[in-house]
Symmetry: C2
Subunit: 358 residues, 2 copies
């Protein structure tokens, strides 16, 4: 593939891609940081971004994260460096210590890897002057995410799956940065057959090797079975449900952002204090998001709070408004203290010998 592909199938795919990209990046002149693991989806993403860049729509830098978890990680890095050299695209590589971070902050290894990866991409984007981070998640990933969360138990925010576009609030003085997923409308098989047809190479399992066993089983067993027995278009249906869900949550999220500004008494890296009495008047859907936001101010914007902890926070809010001071320990070494007047989120160190789970 060079310039616009001659093959009609490839050309059609390319046009679909251009539409999908414009839906998340309407203005030309972008500078994209394309995340590339070396797996098929990410190689196709990089190739498509490169085509768009060559047609003058914007500029591309690639970014590879080395999680330091497996021996193959070195080979993946070398593969990506070679590919970028062959394509004459600048590439940055960052090493992160997922295992160490998991131990230090009390996350699971998967969560630590996810958080560090997103933080590294954000740093690299700001360093390169990129205005958008582009991730290669596709429709099958989305369907698996929704199903996984539903099976484990999830709130509406979880059922919305991954966002096609997300604004990353900047620190003071930094330029705005977005995170987009232009491949969410494409099936995994379509991407793979495009890759084969376009003569691309990839490292066979770079993205699957990091899959948790539960997600792997959902991908390999459950979804094929449900497709066969219940709905041949299950993946499309689940992805579509996620989209509806996101739109449904928009007004709630906007209202929660307003309430957060109103109930926040103070916020710094050392502590966030909320007005308990004011928050008590808000409905559960909004209060949950406000508490989540306060939590992320300390734990980092990529820290996720499961339903179990969200529920604990809501219960504490009720208990404290009845006059019983309470405290919840949250993943990532954060603690929430509740009194009748205030809710305080603050860092905390676990007592020695006490094991905490994320």
């Amino acid at each position: 593939m060079r310039g616009i592909p001659e093959d009609l199938v490839l050309r059609r795919f390319y046009f679909r891609w251009e539409r999908a990209l414009q839906a998340v990046l309407p203005e030309p002149g972008w500078h994209a940081l394309g995340a590339i693991s070396g797996g098929c989806d990410s190689v196709v993403l990089a190739r498509l971004l490169l085509e768009s860049a060559r047609r003058g729509r914007g500029r591309l830098t690639l970014a590879h994260i080395h999680h330091g978890l497996r021996p193959e990680a070195d080979a993946d890095e070398a593969f990506v460096r070679d590919l970028a050299a062959a394509w004459q695209v600048p590439v940055g590589v960052e090493r992160v210590d997922a295992r160490g971070h998991a131990e230090r902050r009390g996350w699971s290894i998967e969560q630590a890897a996810r958080i560090l990866r997103l933080q590294a991409l954000e740093r690299m984007a700001r360093a390169a002057g990129a205005d958008v981070i582009v991730l290669g998640h596709q429709m099958d990933d989305q369907a698996e995410t929704v199903l996984l969360r539903l099976l484990r138990g999830a709130g509406p925010r979880g059922l919305g799956g991954m966002r096609a576009t997300r604004r990353l609030r900047g620190t003071a003085g930094s330029s705005p940065l977005r995170l987009v997923r232009p491949l969410l409308g494409f099936r995994r098989a379509e991407i793979r057959s495009f890759a084969a047809r376009a003569g691309l190479q990839w490292t066979e399992d770079a993205s699957n090797r990091d899959l948790a066993p539960l997600r792997n089983r959902i991908r390999q067993e459950l979804i094929p079975q449900l497709q066969q027995l219940y709905n041949p278009r299950l993946v499309e249906s689940l992805a579509d449900a996620a989209g509806w869900q996101q739109r449904e949550s928009e007004p709630v999220a906007r209202a929660a952002a307003r309430v957060y500004r109103r109930v926040r008494l103070s916020a710094s890296a050392a502590a966030v204090e909320l007005d308990a009495a004011r928050l008590a008047r808000e409905p559960a859907a909004i209060a949950t998001r406000v508490l989540w936001r306060a939590y992320q101010t300390l734990a980092g914007r990529h820290a996720a709070l499961g339903r179990r902890h969200a529920r604990a926070l809501l219960a504490m809010r009720r208990a404290a408004s009845g006059g019983a001071p309470a405290c919840v320990h949250l993943p990532g070494r954060v603690r929430a203290r509740f009194t009748r007047e205030r809710i305080v989120f603050e860092p905390h160190e676990p007592r020695p010998g006490r094991q905490e789970t994320a």
Copy 2:
């Protein structure tokens, strides 16, 4: 079982029931119309309502709907009449013609039966002077509903499952009426073991016989399998997700009710007219609910609109605002016409020989 049961297990179950009932009917002095098919859940519901009534919390009338679909329906009716006589509770029976209604209005038989059942219960409640209709759906029903809708493809409204409490808007001059489901917090197996322990009798399959094949397979095969492989507390998780979903949708539903009053130009049994330009400014989540509400004014408040039709309405709204008049035929012999200025919902008769599906 007579008065408060002596058995400690039964007594505990009864206390749990009282709490669940008070959550949906906080004020004593109610007059409940308890729906009873003759199946286990409905017999337990009737028995529990009777106990509460005997303890002076309210008054009970039973209601049985004969759908005229199967030969066993006569035996079910006789069983319910005998039970009510033995318990000395007044019982009303109404026959509905689900098959005829399905043919006349273009519904599927299941949908026609559901709509006629709810309409009959509403009529019977108003005739008896009851202020609340009580249905026997439990947690397993809720989980099946959520999973069924998710597999078929559903929007946020669908994923909220069945409401524990719902207000039925009255016609002018009629007193307010509610519909509640106090057993949503109970597992099917708990209800069944209570029934056996309390020495109750029921018609083995009265409620299962009406199950569509897809729901039956979800109940018999899929849920047990998912429980075993993914989450032993799956039913609780799904029911819980439905509850969160309902709370998430509350602000959207309230906003939609306000918007509906603002964009409605006129409304009668003959037609509902909406202001297209005003509706065009609303986000999809709210516009969908407004269109749904206009549709129900003509098709009846128990008429449900699937995602396929909801999506068609939204697409037409966009097309018409671009200047292309359009028309969508909806289940229950209703048509929506779109022009640049107006959206009109009105009854319509299909052209002879044209088959329409709900």
